[in-house]
């Protein structure tokens, strides 16, 4: 059954590539709707991948982008968790600040780019700033709702067993809220990853976003497409490979899945 499913997926992928190639030929050759250099095609992308791998551009870009997103995500994590705890401490803050955060969260991260450039200039800090702004509020909100959803009976029981308020977070609240934290982190990760691209396309230093912009400048649509595919691939690998598997593990362990 498993091999059949896998075979089906492979077949689907081949079909997709064939359709893409067909569409390219139809649009650029048979119907002449578009100029050949403006439409990417599978073999062109394959060549582009080869070229970018051969001269080390792709590897360097991925490494640099990952470093940035991880730095930004780490900062978001620390600030977001602290901020989330701060909000939950006060009913007043929770009531007044939460709608604001929900609003900011809907803001596309590219909107932070002007701030980033004015405050930090065109450098690493500005890109990381955009990543942080793109993901920090999502983490705060996840922490806040995760803590709010902890069943009160868990805390009540712990109190009667002598757990002091100081230890309540580490002994009960954090472990209980962990699955929602991870779900929140997963969402924040995808925000961070998108924000990174917003930051990188404006910058002039090595990175996936920059490689994509080079492709545009050279009118090399296949390179643009290659970078887009790499961005998608990394996004999926980290989402499924790390966050979803941790989430599934936690849920299964607790009998919630």
């Amino acid at each position: 059954m498993k091999t059949r499913k896998l075979a089906g997926s492979v077949l689907f992928l081949i079909g997709l590539l064939a359709a893409w190639q067909l569409l390219y030929v139809a649009a650029t050759d048979w119907l002449a709707w578009a100029k050949p250099y403006a439409v990417p095609h599978p073999s062109g992308v394959a060549q582009s991948v080869q070229a970018l791998l051969a001269n080390g551009t792709l590897f360097a870009a991925v490494a640099k982008s990952m470093l940035r997103v991880l730095t930004g995500f780490a900062i978001s994590l620390v600030v977001g968790v602290l901020f989330g705890i701060l909000i939950i401490q006060s009913e007043y803050l929770s009531r007044n600040l939460k709608p604001l955060l929900l609003g900011i969260q809907t803001l596309p991260s590219v909107c932070w780019v002007p701030f980033a450039i004015l405050w930090f200039g065109l450098n690493e800090s500005s890109i990381i700033f955009v990543v942080v702004m793109g993901s920090v509020f999502s983490i705060s909100l996840a922490v806040e709702s995760g803590i709010k959803e902890v069943p009160p009976i868990y805390i009540k029981a712990a109190k009667t067993m002598g757990v002091t308020p100081a230890n309540m977070y580490t002994k009960v609240i954090f472990p209980a809220a962990l699955p929602s934290f991870v779900a929140g982190l997963k969402q924040a990760w995808s925000f961070a990853w998108r924000a990174l691209m917003s930051g990188e396309v404006m910058s002039a230093s090595v990175g996936l976003g920059y490689t994509l912009m080079i492709g545009r400048d050279l009118a090399d649509i296949n390179q643009v497409m290659t970078v887009m595919l790499v961005i998608v691939l990394i996004g999926i690998v980290i989402d499924k490979g790390i966050f979803s598997s941790v989430e599934n593990y936690l849920l299964k362990k607790r009998g919630l899945k």
């Binding site: 009976i153 009540k156 712990a158 109190k159 009667t160 067993m161 002598g162 472990p175 209980a176 607790r254």
Partner: protein
């Protein structure tokens, strides 16, 4: 006197309803006290006050010469829902409070082993919480509560969410464990049968406002036979009192329609 409730009253701020009025009770060390009453008579509130989870509007609670002001491990509560932690397995749940009490890892293991064996769950120690039955969950919660060796064990309808068969097994087990450990227990239940089965004294409460109506000493030999004629006779007698009080308070509401429950 070991546990002393001195004219406790409790008025909840938001509704201004007098949930408890002038409740006084004295409990000796090693006594098993059951509190019964119609729903809404404040029996669970009373337990929460003794636990320190809530504070009385008036009156004081003294345990072993010390005034109760906050929750503490000397008054462990067992709730209707087991309140076990799903990220810990059976054994780790029992060890949970022991860590807070400052026991070493080795002591925690030894104590947990002792009480898990007492509730017959030792072979299930590695099980995750979601894989054990409701009865086993309550046994785990009982082991966790006993492990802390508290001065007072507070139980809030711990078996009421279980099926009849499991209840009977657990009652017999708790009875046996109590005989062995001689814990002082304050046990809230809506089941008069359960109260007579366990209690040295049954505290019958009335509602609106919640107050103690009668305290009935039970002198039947243990373990008690719930089918014995004197058992059923006493059960009916107490049941009449409880439902009488429930009916009276309902009549009160009809007579005074402006008072909304």
């Amino acid at each position: 006197m070991y546990l002393q409730l001195n004219s406790i009253s409790k008025i909840f701020g938001d509704t201004k309803k007098e949930t408890l009025q002038d409740v006084s009770l004295e409990v000796e060390k090693g006594e098993f006290i059951c509190i019964v009453g119609p729903s809404g008579c404040g029996k669970s509130t009373l337990l929460n006050l003794v636990a320190g989870l809530d504070t009385p509007t008036d009156g004081t609670i003294m345990l072993d010469g010390k005034k109760v002001t906050a929750p503490g491990a000397d008054r462990v509560v067992m709730f209707q829902e087991a309140a076990l932690y799903p990220w810990l397995n059976v054994m780790q749940n029992v060890m949970f409070g022991l860590e807070a009490a400052g026991h070493s890892k080795k002591e925690q293991m030894q104590i947990a082993e002792k009480y898990l064996k007492m509730v017959q769950l030792w072979q299930y120690r590695e099980y995750p919480i979601h894989q054990i039955s409701g009865g086993m969950k309550q046994r785990t919660a009982l082991a966790r509560a006993l492990a802390l060796d508290s001065k007072l064990l507070l139980m809030d309808e711990p078996f009421s969410a279980l099926d009849k068969q499991t209840i009977n097994i657990l009652r017999a087990e708790l009875e046996e464990i109590w005989e062995k450990t001689k814990k002082t227990i304050l046990y809230v239940t809506h089941s008069v049968e359960e109260a007579i089965y366990f209690a040295d004294r049954v505290v019958v409460m009335a509602e609106n406002p919640g107050q103690i109506k009668q305290i009935i000493p039970i002198r039947f030999a243990r373990p008690r036979n719930i089918e014995a004629p004197e058992f059923t006779a006493l059960r009916r007698q107490i049941l009449d009192q409880v439902s009488l009080s429930a009916r009276k308070s309902m009549a009160d509401e009809f007579d005074r329609p402006e008072v909304k429950g």
